[in-house]
């Protein structure tokens, strides 16, 4: 079962230097404001898929934050990532419904196939595997998302097949 979701904007290649021009406008919006740091970091993360150090240093130099403060927020919230994610994230639901439908066994098969642990990225930079609390589609349990697409009623075998055949 495949459900098409909105395509993520601004796909940025993981490799290569960080182009700070991409966030100039974003950061400029927050100049002189005291609030909105989380929203700013979210926008920056959308651009790069994670929070690269040069980007945080750029924010430090442009706005009234210290690097320590920026990392304090970035490391507190699970939503912020400090390492580049894979091009597509595989979000495996570990919510109650998926749990009772044995999602752990599904996860184990994916770990075996991808040869990475939960939270890690494949060496080719294509996938990041992560478990999440609830995707909100309990009727499809056990469920996962690859990129912006959702897959449900998984078995270990079908999950691996979906990964093998995944093209956005």
């Amino acid at each position: 079962m495949r459900i098409k979701r909105i395509i993520r904007p601004n796909e940025v290649p993981i490799d290569g230097a960080i182009d700070l021009h991409l966030i100039e406008n974003v950061v400029a919006k927050y100049k002189g404001k005291k609030e909105g740091l989380i929203a700013l970091l979210q926008e920056v993360q959308t651009v790069y898929t994670y929070l690269p150090k040069p980007a945080l240093e750029f924010i430090e130099s442009e706005l009234n934050y210290t690097l320590g403060e920026l990392y304090a927020v970035a490391t507190f919230y699970a939503q912020f990532k400090l390492k580049p994610s894979g091009k597509y994230s595989i979000k495996v639901c570990k919510g109650t419904a998926c749990h009772v439908q044995n999602v752990n066994a599904v996860m184990d098969e994916m770990i075996d196939y991808l040869k990475i642990e939960d939270g890690e990225t494949t060496p080719d930079g294509k996938y990041t595997l992560e478990s999440v609390s609830c995707l909100g589609c309990c009727s499809l349990a056990p469920a996962m998302m690859i990129g912006e697409e959702t897959f449900g009623k998984l078995t270990g075998e079908s999950a691996v097949t979906y990964i093998k055949n995944f093209e956005p």
Partner: protein
């Protein structure tokens, strides 16, 4: 005034005051931990929780303001139980090797346990953080951190740097530089203000005591010791003297009793610094007045925390810095040349120890620029606290010591040198001498004090008009010298931003890295007295006023070193031994 009841006692308190303050003024002590009067009010430890009738939850007394008709219980069963549990939770992942901790018996957490009467340790989970971060100046032991965040306030709120902050979440939380990196790689100025406010053993100076004992106990080595001006007005606090007691003579006696061979005085080198830095200012001012290229304002360079800050954050302004080494470095350089030659000791066999109110001086001593003839100018730097520790270790009864003098030839000093230890002091000392050089007359101020730059304000300024100058200095006739003085890095940033913007009206700026100057430096004894700054300041000014000679150029042993060894101020030999250069550290964030 607001009327309220605390523990059935009717009291009145000023509007806006907290329950904690109101209670204290009425003789009721509420136990607290993270709160630090006048410094840190954050409410992170919650130990000062009290019961307020009608409130849904316990209130924290250090944050909650008094209200009309409030009824507070500071010692109810519920409060007692809560405090104990809070304390036990703090202990749950605190490293409990108290007996081998530098803060044993001076630890605020330990004291609190005594007050609360906690008899067991129910939630021992072992230490979550076993990290030890040893930098040249500051050592962080994260297994002892209790997350009071006083250091964050000192670093971000007071000094305006913000190296330290809370990182990560839950059991992974640490108070650390960005990305949880070692402090040595985070553009830390090493001012050590965090080590003064830390209630436990999590932040402290990096130990130099062992290496100094080794040198003292080695008969082959000649140990030279020198204390900074501010040490003499604070060391006494470690031996029960009231804050603001000057113990100069006993300190000299104690250093001798430790087994040190030569007891010199950094004050001597402070006089020398005035000769060098005053001359450097004259040269730059003369160049500027005669239309030549000159970098002004000249900015003082005695404070190594300040130096590391400007190197890291304002590298473009390095040309403004005086090239003078800080006074203890000058003394070290001359001890291992001028003095070593005179007593026929090889410089390699001499070990120079500085007693400093400062943690940044430890880093400074390790700088590669601070080396002459292959030997470091200063081999070890002890903080005032460490010297006190050594005196105790050696079994010296400090309070019964008779006053003694410093040794010649690097021991005599003038009053101008004493005030080097307080904000405004270096500038005042420089003005006293430079004014005489230009006009041939003494400074026409009462008590030789440049009143506008005396005191503890963050930024102070003064203008001095030069009239009836000596013929050699006629370019200064009618010239108005504008000077500024600041202490603490937040104030320094304001003055440096002015220079960057091209709006700085000053010719000479004195910066000390710590608020109030060295008297409240990062290596000074921790004090609970809220008036500690004023008291130590007064003590230093009375040291100055008690001296017969109060202007650096009148110091006979300074005149002798120029005559016999250095030649003239800012001459060839001075440049080799007493001056230095600086490095751009703006990219050292790795």
């Amino acid at each position: 005034m607001i009327q309220l009841t605390i523990n059935n006692k009717k009291i009145s308190a000023a509007p806006g005051s907290t329950i904690l303050e109101a209670a204290k003024q009425n003789g009721i002590i509420i136990p607290s931990l993270c709160y630090m009067e006048g410094v840190h009010k954050f409410g992170s430890c919650r130990i000062c929780s009290v019961e307020v009738e009608g409130a849904r939850t316990l209130q924290i007394a250090c944050m909650a303001e008094v209200r009309e008709g409030m009824v507070v219980h500071t010692n109810s069963k519920k409060v007692q139980k809560t405090r104990k549990v809070l304390y036990e939770l703090m202990l749950s992942d605190h490293s409990k090797n108290c007996l081998s901790c530098v803060r044993n018996q001076s630890c605020e957490l330990q004291k609190l346990g005594d007050i609360l009467g906690v008899g067991e340790n129910r939630f021992d989970t072992g230490s979550a953080r076993e990290q030890l971060d040893i930098s040249p100046s500051i050592t962080r032991d994260l297994s002892k951190c209790i997350f009071c965040r006083r250091c964050v306030t000192a670093c971000k709120g007071i000094q305006g740097i913000g190296i330290l902050d809370a990182q990560n979440r839950g059991f992974d939380s640490v108070i650390a530089p960005a990305m949880d990196r070692p402090i040595n790689s985070a553009k830390c100025a090493f001012c050590g203000q965090c080590t003064v406010v830390c209630p436990v053993g999590a932040l402290k100076e990096t130990d130099h005591i062992e290496r100094v004992w080794e040198a003292i106990n080695n008969p082959e080595i000649r140990v030279v010791m020198q204390p900074a001006p501010a040490v003499r007005v604070a060391l006494g606090e470690m031996f029960g003297y009231p804050v603001g007691t000057s113990v100069t003579g006993q300190m000299a006696a104690a250093m001798r009793a430790l087994g040190v061979d030569d007891v010199f005085d950094t004050n001597w080198a402070a006089d020398l610094t005035i000769m060098e830095e005053g001359t450097e200012f004259l040269h730059r001012a003369i160049d500027a007045l005669s239309g030549k290229k000159a970098v002004l304002p000249l900015v003082s360079s005695c404070s190594p925390g300040w130096i590391k800050y400007i190197e890291s954050y304002f590298p473009q302004l390095i040309p403004n810095l005086s090239s003078c080494k800080s006074p203890h470095m000058m003394l070290g350089a001359l001890a291992k040349s001028y003095y070593a030659e005179s007593i026929d000791v090889a410089p390699e066999k001499m070990y120079t120890v500085s007693i400093m109110p400062c943690t940044a001086k430890k880093f400074e001593a390790g700088r590669e620029e601070m080396v002459n003839n292959g030997v470091p100018n200063v081999d070890a730097v002890l903080t005032t606290r460490e010297l006190g520790q050594m005196i105790k270790q050696a079994g010296i009864d400090f309070r019964s010591l008779k006053e003694e003098q410093f040794d010649d030839p690097l021991g005599q000093s003038t009053g101008a040198a004493d005030i080097f230890g307080v904000t405004g002091g270096v500038m005042e000392a420089a003005i006293r001498t430079v004014y005489v050089i230009i006009t041939g007359r003494e400074l026409p101020f009462e008590g030789l004090h440049v009143a506008p730059i005396v005191g503890l304000d963050q930024i102070k300024e003064a203008t001095l008009k030069l009239e009836n100058v000596l013929p050699d200095y006629k370019m200064f006739e009618g010239f108005e010298v504008k000077v500024a003085v600041t202490s603490g890095l937040a104030g320094a940033k304001i003055l440096m931003d002015q220079i960057m913007a091209g709006t700085s009206p000053y010719h000479f700026i004195e910066v000390m890295g710590c608020p109030s100057g060295c008297i409240c430096g990062g290596g000074q004894p921790r004090s609970e007295d809220p008036d500690v700054r004023t008291k130590r300041l007064k003590a230093l000014y009375s040291e100055d006023e008690s001296k017969v000679l109060r202007q650096s150029h009148l110091n006979p042993s300074i005149a002798a070193v120029y005559k016999d060894f250095l030649g003239k101020p800012c001459g060839h030999k001075s440049h080799e031994l007493l001056h230095t250069h600086y490095v751009d550290r703006s990219s050292e964030n790795e």
